[in-house]
């Protein structure tokens, strides 16, 4: 199996990447500004909904039900999509999905030496690293979503699942476009930037014969596929080319068309703070004389089925990729997306990336959270992200305890020591006394400075009040004694 999630296998741990990000003031200003804007817009559009909590409950119930019967609904989708003239391919992992996509492009591009495909935003494509695979096969992928285009042109990585170039401001985009499009006099005016992108893309929309998309939803009862977006590039990608190839993670299936009523209310409000997406494209198979003449779906597992076995882990697959948890997260706010070392960043990335890869990579991500709960509060499908983070920490610790190095790590030793002390009053009080004596080595006035080991990470940046000479316990014991003497 070649389960792959972006470039996680080569990424450094979160604390290391986060430190680099924290040193980049421009990046932090961009992320602060962008997340503030989206967050406030979301709050406005959510507050006006009297039935928001019921919608969340409904969405969570629909997703939970679908995931419990995923085999049934996927087969139903395949039947109906095929019946409507589509072709459904099943891919167990990233390599299989990429191979299917490449062979389809080859099949339809005939004797073209360097075929091109136009793409509409698909995170799944980044997950399986389709673009490098296409390029290695001599195929040129052209990203048409403005942000994806910025990322592709800058040889960059997406830093947000909805707004992939969130880490860049318009001045940086202007400079990139000036360089890559040869537009020396381009200004940073957003209209000028989008106009430049439009001119650049228009010719490709009209001439490239193969389109490649992701999907927000796949409807089992009809075989329909739905893509929502804001720029209209998606509509063009799924209607103009002769051939359309759509990548769908298997968790994207929903049972009924009517279920869209719930999700199409939750998704735009959560993702971009819009009541409705400007473009909602929905198509079923192929229709003669209208849109692509061939339609292929690649259903991708890439580690997902493993999550189905455990009830808590399964909840992760309810995600509709709205990004609300990223915008609400105080950790993401400081570091931006690249610190997560994965194309899936923020709180959802911290649980999704490690699980898809059976904790082989991204092992530091479950700890990249203060467990403040802001992500769970905004999640439109009610994924209890803090609970899943804790669960995954448990799995990481269990695995670490199987190695000698893991058992002897300073954290492990401290945790087992504390656990032993907390199981007995005598040991607990002895530990308190020991701490009070031990702290004298580090006591400067009323403060503790330059503590050793992990505690040094505290005193590196923060002061710490020394433990008082008399504890609450001492006070309580003295008082009880005094009362008994009366």
């Amino acid at each position: 199996m070649s389960i792959r999630v972006g470039k996680t296998s080569a990424a450094a741990d979160f604390p290391i990447l986060a430190k680099t990000a924290l040193g980049n003031d421009q990046l932090r200003r961009n992320v602060h500004h962008a997340t503030d804007v989206i967050r406030n817009k979301r709050a406005l559009r959510v507050d006006e909904m009297p039935d928001w909590q019921q919608l969340r409950d409904a969405a969570s119930a629909i997703k939970a039900h679908t995931l419990r019967h995923l085999d049934h609904y996927l087969e139903e989708f395949e039947r109906n999509c095929t019946g409507a003239g589509g072709m459904v391919h099943w891919a167990r992992d990233a390599d299989e999905a990429n191979a299917i996509a490449i062979s389809l492009v080859r099949e339809y591009s005939g004797d073209e030496d360097h075929p091109e495909v136009i793409k509409v935003k698909t995170m799944t494509s980044d997950e399986i690293q389709l673009n490098p695979a296409l390029e290695a096969a001599g195929i040129t992928p052209i990203e048409t979503d403005l942000a994806d285009m910025i990322v592709q042109m800058g040889d960059d990585e997406p830093s947000h699942i909805v707004v992939p170039a969130l880490h860049k401001n318009r001045f940086e985009v202007r400079d990139l476009f000036r360089k890559k499009m040869g537009l020396e006099n381009l200004t940073e005016d957003p209209e000028a930037l989008t106009a430049a992108a439009r001119t650049y893309l228009r010719d490709r929309f009209l001439n490239v014969k193969i389109g490649l998309s992701g999907a927000n939803f796949a409807v089992a009862e009809s075989g329909a596929v739905c893509v929502v977006e804001s720029e209209g590039n998606g509509r063009m990608c799924v209607t103009l080319p002769d051939v359309l190839i759509t990548l769908i993670g298997i968790e994207k299936v929903i049972p009924r068309f009517a279920d869209l009523e719930v999700f199409l209310q939750l998704l735009p409000r959560s993702a971009t703070g819009e009541r409705m997406n400007p473009y909602n494209s929905l198509w079923t198979g192929v229709a003669p004389g209208d849109g692509p003449r061939a339609f292929h779906v690649i259903l991708i597992d890439n580690g997902r089925t493993k999550l189905l076995a455990d009830e808590m882990e399964r909840e992760t697959l309810q995600c509709i990729r709205c990004g609300a948890c990223l915008n609400a997260c105080p950790v993401y706010r400081e570091t931006g997306g690249h610190a997560y070392g994965s194309i899936y960043s923020g709180p959802i990335g911290a649980i999704l990336s490690p699980q898809l890869q059976s904790l082989e990579h991204s092992r530091s991500l479950p700890y990249a959270s203060s467990l403040c709960g802001a992500c769970y509060e905004v999640c439109p499908v009610k994924i209890n992200i803090p609970e899943i983070l804790i669960h995954l920490r448990g799995r990481v610790v269990d695995e670490d305890q199987k190695t000698l190095g893991g058992r002897l790590s300073p954290e492990s030793v401290a945790m087992y020591g504390a656990a032993a002390a907390f199981q007995s009053q005598t040991r607990y009080e002895a530990a308190q006394r020991l701490a009070r004596t031990g702290q004298l080595l580090f006591k400067r006035g009323d403060e503790l400075k330059h503590l050793p080991g992990m505690a040094g990470e505290w005193t590196r940046f923060r002061d710490l009040r020394a433990i008082p000479a008399k504890s609450f316990r001492d006070w309580w014991k003295a008082r009880t004694k005094k009362e008994a003497a009366k």
């Binding site: 700890y367 199981q423 505290w458 940046f461 316990r473």
Partner: protein, 224 residues
């Protein structure tokens, strides 16, 4: 806390054998090590009329995870004890406002105070404006609103040392908001968050004090 509860005419007991609710182990991934601590806690307080906890995050640990832990252990007796105990566990402000129906505890504290709603009190316990009602009833106290108050202070238990750089970046934002209020004192329902907030304030030379809500409610400054 003891002083406030006794002032209100209640009898306070402190079982000396109590230690820790198990949150640190549980949240860091040492869930097996938390189990004996959970058992110990539940046994210790089984007969209490009401258990008053001066930490919202400890109460959140109990309410969010104790049942789950008992279920995962397949221990029906533990589950029954947990379910019997949970309704009797209160965070300090909850006990005063919700259980006892008290808002004015007879405190006097002539200072400007701002309140940081800690994440667990806000999003897990949903304590609402109980703490604010208690503060508003304190004589002489001027309450000022904390900007971006619902933003995490960056403590997060072992997160504060495992991801110290990020934790401190979050703290810097929180402390800047605290200082901007011009308050003399910042208060909360969790000493852990206050330890974090203090750590940053004190390091930067600020004279803003950190006090637990109970310390303010116990105060009787300049009242006579």
């Amino acid at each position: 806390m003891t002083e406030v509860l006794e002032r209100l005419g209640h009898t306070v007991e402190f079982p000396l054998a109590q230690t820790c609710c198990g949150q640190m182990h549980y949240n860091t991934g040492y869930q097996k090590e938390a189990i004996p601590l959970v058992r110990r806690f539940v046994e210790m307080f089984a007969d209490a009329e009401a258990v008053c906890v001066p930490s919202a995050s400890c109460v959140a640990m109990m309410r969010e995870h104790y049942e789950l832990i008992a279920k995962n252990e397949n221990d029906a007796a533990l589950l029954a004890s947990v379910q019997s105990l949970l309704p009797r566990i209160f965070e300090f402000s909850e006990l005063l406002v919700n259980r006892l129906g008290v808002e004015d505890v007879g405190a006097a504290f002539p200072h400007t105070v701002t309140y940081h709603p800690s994440c667990h009190s806000l999003r897990m316990l949903h304590v609402g404006d109980g703490p604010l009602k208690l503060l508003r009833a304190v004589r002489g106290l001027t309450l000022v609103e904390l900007p971006d108050r619902e933003q995490c202070c960056g403590f997060g238990g072992t997160f504060s040392v495992k991801n110290a750089d990020v934790s401190v970046a979050m703290l810097a934002e929180k402390d800047a908001c605290v200082v901007a209020t011009g308050a003399e004192v910042v208060t909360a329902l969790d000493n852990s968050c206050l330890m974090q907030i203090y750590g940053g304030l004190h390091r930067s030379g600020s004279s803003v004090r950190t006090l637990h809500l109970a310390e303010i409610l116990a105060a009787n400054e300049g009242a006579r």
